[in-house]
Amino acid sequence: MKFADLRGRPGFLAAWACLVLLLAGTAYYVFGFGAQRPFLPHTGPGVQIQKMAEAAPETNSDNVSLLARVIQGEAGDEPYDGKVAVGAVLLNRMQSSAFPHTLPGVVFQPYAFESVANGLIWTSQPSSDCLRAAIDALSGWDPAHGALYFWNPSKSVNPWVWTRQILTQIGHQIFAR
């Protein structure tokens, strides 16, 4: 049996291509997955909120950091009141009968938030701006006046959201109920 002549240019190119692919694959395996791994709940930089514990169903004490992460993921480039408004939407959802009644339930509802679905919220620590916005939202500030939905109209969204009552627009995002 005779092999094709591998000493010529094509043979070496093929060998190099394989090597590069292998290295790239290994690198992806090692680093690519590594980057998506940090599902460890970091606690924010010394942030704690003290609040009166309601009897039920939820205390807000440990939620600042999680809320701040979602705010960063969903409204990191938005003005400050837009950040607070996104935080308020999550809290308003907890009070609504059509949504889960806990913050983790709301945050991790499948496909509720793009930045949670694609893992963006775990890629960096929330900025101090986002932490402050989370605290403001938990303290009761709601620039979106009771909104349950928000979206960026320049991106394509489920047409269903347009059937909601639009309350206001802050920065690039529309807020609706």
Binding site: R7, P79, S139, W141, W160
Partner: protein, 452 residues
Amino acid sequence: MKPSRQTVAVIALAVLWGATVLWGIGQLRARRQADVLLQNKYSRAFYETMQRTKNVQALLSKGLVSGSPDQMDAILSDLWYNANSAQENLSQLPVSHDVVARTSKFLSQVGDYAYTLTKSNKTRTLSDKDWGTMQQLYQTSVSLNKEMSMVEQDAAAGAFHWTEVQSGLNRQLSRGSVGSADNSFRKVETQLHELPVLLYDGPFSDHIEQMEPQGLTGSTVTLDQARNIAGDFADLGGATVQQKVLANEVRGKIPSYTIQLRTGNNPSDATTVDVSKKGGHVVSMLNPRTVSAAKLSDDQALARAEDFLRSRGLTGFVPTYTLREQNVSTISFAYKQGNVMVYPDQVKLQVALDNGQVLGYEALGYLTAHHQRAIAPPAFSAAEARTRISPRAQVLSERLALIPTSSKGEVLTYEFETKLGDDVFLVYINAQNGEEEQILKLLNLPNGTLTI
């Protein structure tokens, strides 16, 4: 013999190819494993939803037929637990929100309603009105289960595979089309179109959606008036306003103008003030400027906040709680009518601890609830109410307080600050019938101060 270059190249290629194949197989296995894991997780939530929804129907029918108070108690708590669990599991399924929203609402209300009944129904037998409501809920649950069993059949027939549903949804999320599971669930939603309007004493009762704000006194203001109100209200720390921009018009419960006061060119140089169209009340204010290291004490911050309220003509407020966070002090105030603390009428202020500037103001709750109330005198004296408190707790102070119920009603109570060990509790005893209405526990307080 020295191997030829050809042999070396062939062996190298073969090794590379082999390694790649092994790596690929490993990947495939890992992916399948992850797939099964996810599939199982979603299936668990799915079957749990189905089972719990069936339980809800069974328990509702038992409630209709039961004549025993003890049995009724057990049925109602079971109902609360099963409806909650069904709702929780339903909201974990990878389907679009709009196809489960109504089912979710129904389940929330059933659970909430059952909980309210266990709390309020002392005799544990249903009144005619409650029996009628339960009958209505039962009928809805029957049709819900009929539709749900169709979804279950679709699932059993392999019509949808959760992980495919999931990756499909990923793509559809942007396009807005629907997956197969979505289609199955959509039929359920259509069936629930005529959800009964439920009015009862709980947080998910339908009357809460319909509540109108009571604190909006006065006549409609124009945009120019609103600009001036915003400019006069905000504490800009000496900076001059360059522009008063109408950023938005809010069409919420309190229709408002969102005015931005620009004092510079940076995005953080804009203070946002919401002014209600009716009456020109300031609904909220937010100044996003960065705050440097704290120089003010809590008392100084409180004095600044009180000054601010007084100078804005907002009188009759008493501070209740202070929270110090990120060099900002957030202070809650409640309105005091006569000698009664009116907790539903709350405003909150934020004071920058570097220079005492008031950065934030929030009055959405106040404007929603505030009105001059006719408060009936208490039927119980404070001393009588005090006997209702556990003798193990030590009472530190007491006062009259009107507190909100979970359904946004109001009850007059005695508020007792009590201590048990190192823990501080606020215990609320109904001033008309002496019942314990609410207990609040104060969480660790290094950054917070309760003013009482």
